[in-house]
């Protein structure tokens, strides 16, 4: 009888112990969650695709001159003979974007280079001048648009008023 009582007590105690342990674990988990929520109310750490304000693209050394689909990733230039000379001589002062958006024939590029040499401290391009001009007129030729082009790339949408 005594033995039995003792066994029952032991079981009761074990059950109580398990309940207390379970309760503590629950309190601890809720507590940790609450503390985390106080630190990071938007739970931003769980939003993997939300860009952080301070992320700045840094060129990785290996990819510095990466070519993707025939385009030089860093500058946007078309990968073709003369591209390297163009990057080396034409992107020190201004962006490659200024080169790419301009469409000129050889004569006008020559005039532009001369203007940059006279007013913008561009150096003598030597043999590279012909290489660069050839690259530009081959890959970025002027397009005929006439006196007024048709509207293109229209993004149609339903107008709700």
């Amino acid at each position: 009888m005594k033995e039995q009582n003792h066994g029952k007590l032991k079981r009761d105690f074990k059950s109580l112990y398990r309940k207390i342990l379970l309760a503590s674990v629950v309190v601890a988990i809720v507590g940790i969650a609450l503390i985390y929520f106080m630190v990071d109310p938007s739970l931003s750490a769980f939003k993997a695709n939300e860009p952080d304000t301070e992320i700045v693209d840094m060129p990785v050394e290996d990819d510095f001159d990466k070519i993707e689909n025939g385009i030089h990733s860093r500058t946007g230039f078309i990968d073709a003979p003369g591209m390297t000379e163009t990057i080396q001589n034409c992107t020190n002062c201004h962006s490659s974007k200024l080169v790419i958006q301009n469409r000129m024939n050889a004569e006008r590029w020559k005039t532009t280079i001369k203007w940059m040499q006279e007013t913008q401290n561009l150096w003598d391009l030597g043999e590279n001048e012909a290489v660069i001009i050839n690259y530009l007129v081959t890959n970025y030729p002027p397009k005929k648009v006439g006196r007024r082009a048709v509207l293109t790339d229209i993004e149609w949408y339903q107008l709700e008023e």
Partner: protein, 406 residues
């Protein structure tokens, strides 16, 4: 959101750590001023621009709006184009910032602190239209050299400052004064300290106009860094390059100012009309003064689809350089017939004017709504490109949007 704010707030401290130096005037740095060390990060965050703005060039920064981003009556900073000829100044200390008036035609050279300018002279606020001389350049054939602006290099903000005339009266100007020219703190692309990226100006008649001001506020706040903080010339109605940013010095000249981008072909068009692609000698190029009449449909955005029977309410702005816009029309049949729009008077001289119209379409199909403004002299916008010029300036051809009735 809280965490992101925290990151944004701490970024200056982070920057100081990154640069290995403390930012001495961190606490007096104005809101919106971003140290130049950050110049190569996201331009939309850096300059607080709308995501719909288009970056034409990132060195130097050249960013333009799209028509539908310019719908506000007074343009907010987020939709204002950026046109830089050089690099944004790297050190701006407003406490030490001065403006010097010099040149052949001043009685004596005089220097003012920024605080002096603000306290000594009466403040004026005007809505003033600024448009890049090369706005619309992308449409010229053969293509013209330079940033290929489409339609978004124009805006009308509210500027607060002092009249240039008041300052010049205080300095004393000689009778032989012909032109004013500005000098600024921006840095030449080659970083050559002996070169100025741009130093333009205007004849004395423009300098002495009521609305030609030295501004220190845009839309009621400090001028954003990219737009000329802490002091800028504003000469509305003329190529925006006359409105020099980061102003440090004004020279009163006894000749037409010969600073950078005043000579050669810069901001000049052929004095006589030329054929497309024709070569023009420098001496046959004339300085652009007032900008031509022009307009933009800012609502709806191009590409609107409506159901049959519904009316389309359009609106936008029109401006005409030194002049007022006297008439505004629209056409939905490529100029075969024109209908009148309601056009408001400008808030003040040189402010753009708002127009609106309610359009009915006869049947289903594809339409273009074309807008045409006419200035006080009876001169209208052309539907085709205006006269070709080597540098692609002054394209004031009618703006149009595509509409579909389904």
């Amino acid at each position: 959101m809280k965490r992101r704010n925290f990151v944004a707030k701490s970024s200056l401290g982070g920057l100081a750590a990154l640069l290995g130096v403390d930012i001495v005037y961190k606490n007096v740095m104005p809101a919106g001023y971003t140290p130049v060390a950050l110049q190569d990060s996201d331009p939309f965050k850096l300059f607080k621009k709308d995501k719909g703005m288009v970056v034409l060039n990132d060195k130097p920064w050249n960013i333009e709006a799209q028509a539908h981003l310019l719908d506000d009556r007074v343009t907010p900073n987020k939709s204002i184009f950026i046109r830089n000829n050089g690099l944004i100044p790297e050190e701006i200390d407003v406490e030490k910032w001065t403006l010097t008036i010099d040149g052949e035609s001043v009685q004596q050279e005089k220097t003012y602190s920024l605080a002096e300018l603000k306290s000594k002279f009466k403040h004026h606020t005007y809505q003033l239209t600024l448009e890049c001389g090369g706005n619309g350049r992308s449409e010229f054939d053969p293509p013209a050299k330079g940033n290929q602006w489409t339609i978004g290099a124009v805006y009308c903000a509210s500027w607060t400052g002092i009249r240039l005339r008041d300052v010049l009266e205080d300095v004393g100007i000689k009778d032989d004064a012909v032109y004013f020219g500005y000098h600024a703190a921006d840095v030449h692309l080659s970083r050559d300290p002996t070169k100025e990226p741009i130093s333009r100006g205007a004849p004395m008649s423009k300098a002495l106009k009521d609305e030609t001001i030295l501004a220190f506020k845009m839309n009621g706040e400090d001028i954003p860094l990219a737009h000329g903080y802490p002091l800028r010339v504003i000469a509305g109605g003329w190529p925006a390059s006359v409105s020099g940013k980061w102003l440090q010095r004004i020279s009163i000249r006894n000749i037409v100012h010969d600073g950078t981008k005043m000579t050669g072909t810069a901001y000049r068009v052929p004095c006589k009309p030329v054929a497309p692609g024709e070569k023009v000698a420098d001496e046959d190029m004339c300085i652009i003064e007032s900008m031509p009449v022009k307009s933009l449909i800012t609502y709806p955005k191009s590409g609107a689809t409506l159901s049959k029977g519904k009316k389309l309410n359009i609106r936008g702005h029109a401006w005409a350089g030194e002049l007022e816009v006297s008439k505004m029309e629209y056409s939905i049949d490529f100029g075969a017939t024109w209908n009148t729009c309601v056009i408001e008077k400008p808030a003040n001289r040189l402010a753009w004017q708002h127009f609106s119209a309610s359009i009915s379409f006869p049947q289903e199909g594809y339409y273009e709504v074309w807008a045409k403004a006419t200035d006080a002299n009876g001169v209208s916008q052309p539907m085709l490109l205006p006269g070709w010029n080597p540098k692609g300036y002054l394209n004031n051809a009618c703006h149009r949007i595509a509409v579909k009735i389904a």
